[in-house]
Amino acid sequence: MSAGGPWTIASIQTSLRTKKISAREITTEFYADIDRRNPSLNAYLALSRDRAFAQADRVDVATACGEKLGPLAGVPIAVKDVINTAGVRTTCGSKILETYVPPYDATAVARLEKAGAIILGKTNCDEFAMGSSNENSAYGPVRNPAALDRVPGGSSGGSAAAVAAGLAVAALGTDTGGSIRQPGACCGIPAMMPTYGRVSRYGLIAFASSLDRIGPFARNIADATAVMSVIAGHDENDATSAAVSVPDYAAEIEPPVAELRIGVPEEYFGQGIDAEVKDKVLAGIALLEKLGCRRVPLKMPHTEYAIATYYIIATAEASSNLARYDGVRYGLRVPGSTLIEMYRKTRERGFGAEVKRRLMLGTYALSSGYYDAYYLRAQKVRALIARDFSEAFEKVDAIVTPTTPTPAFKLGEKTSDPLQMYLADIYTVTGSLSGIPGISVPCGETRGQLPIGMQILGPRFSESRVLQLARAFEKAGGFTI
């Protein structure tokens, strides 16, 4: 910790420039904290000490030589274990990749290091990012730093917990149906899902290709913005990355938010929402109104179909993407007398229960005789959900909702009921299906001191506006409302 509280990107950069501390000392400090606290949190699955200290030394040499430092120089960052790191074990939280060491870096990781960031290690997650509680990791659940008997959310639970506990300044997560925003809300930190295609997915191990996105966790909006500025942008190694120029986010988030129109859809405040969550998010919206935003009531009639749509599309895509785990090229192999027997035995032993459940659901939805009724219909409903948003964004500049219907639940509370677990994503899957960006920001706590998250959604490539609202909310004290 720096003298003024937990490290931020700005305080690290100032301390490095004024030679108050070296990148090696900062890295040592973070590993000491991780060694002390990770056994109870289980946020990290692997630590990349050699790589981190080599990078810290490069930053220190550059500082000593008076070179211009990168925008993330000396900043310790954690990376979700579904994102490839060359030479550092990457398991996806699965037994089937227990021994996998990627031969290359994901573009997002390479960009972070090029900007001077120090990659501390790989964070725990639900197996192949499938889950909302981190309890589907083959390497044990993560515990929520705000309440150790509660889940941190999922699937990027390790990244959220590491940042919330101060065991990294920022982290990369991935969001397919809420897997960045929901754990951000549960752990009480800002967590951003960028527009589909905004951040390269080269080196991200695929779950559902029409939904997966990489985005940052941080403890404040300035830090989330700094990470976004580094990882955003086109990458010719990812055919789905967008050839859309990246604005100067840091400059664009500062103007006042007065006169922005914020839509509040009634469907996000109905049945199933916890009363304390509802009250705090409504108080958060009132605060934005005090800052001059105009509140516009909205109806988004297809919201209630989003979970059903999501669980068809995501599982169908997963059943195709995860066909590659067959014991042939990498990871686990369980011997069999024929090729097919080897596939079956390998997958039976290598995958956990939730992954198998989703692979079967997805295979069923795509199988002969059911394709039209399930997959094709889901793609049509997806278009209707996206249309709800495009029509809303003709009337409003952003949409504000709760991130989750309830605060973090207890470990084990929903593990026996998959459908109840799926419903934890009810407010986040809509943005995922529509390809738009969104951020979850802290919005006070329950009386039992559990964090509450407020979600801000904007049109495609409106990261600046989403971050601008988040920044104004933060400055006005919204995080502790």
């Binding site: 055919a239 011997p335 007398s337 198998k356």
Partner: protein, 108 residues
Amino acid sequence: MTISREDVLRVAELAHLELTPEEAELYRGQLDEILNYIGKLQQLDVTNVEPMTQMSSQTVAASGEPRPGAESDLREDTLLPCHIADAVLEQAPDAVKPFFRVPRVIER
């Protein structure tokens, strides 16, 4: 919609999963509940709705709606040197360079 034990076993076979009898029964009940929930999509009228099949910005308008007929903007398909075979084979459970070795596929 109800899913039978035979359905579960057939889907498991298609997905190359080998289920124990207990797993088959557990998944039958859970998939049944999930499929019943998903059945709510049948309530919606989707006639004349174009399916959203592509998400890339090239194929989706800024509003988020699909651009009918638009194709992805792909890069030139040019050959580049890529000397990664050794690094890739190092991860293989059973490799005989330059091949992956697997159990017999074709019976003689």
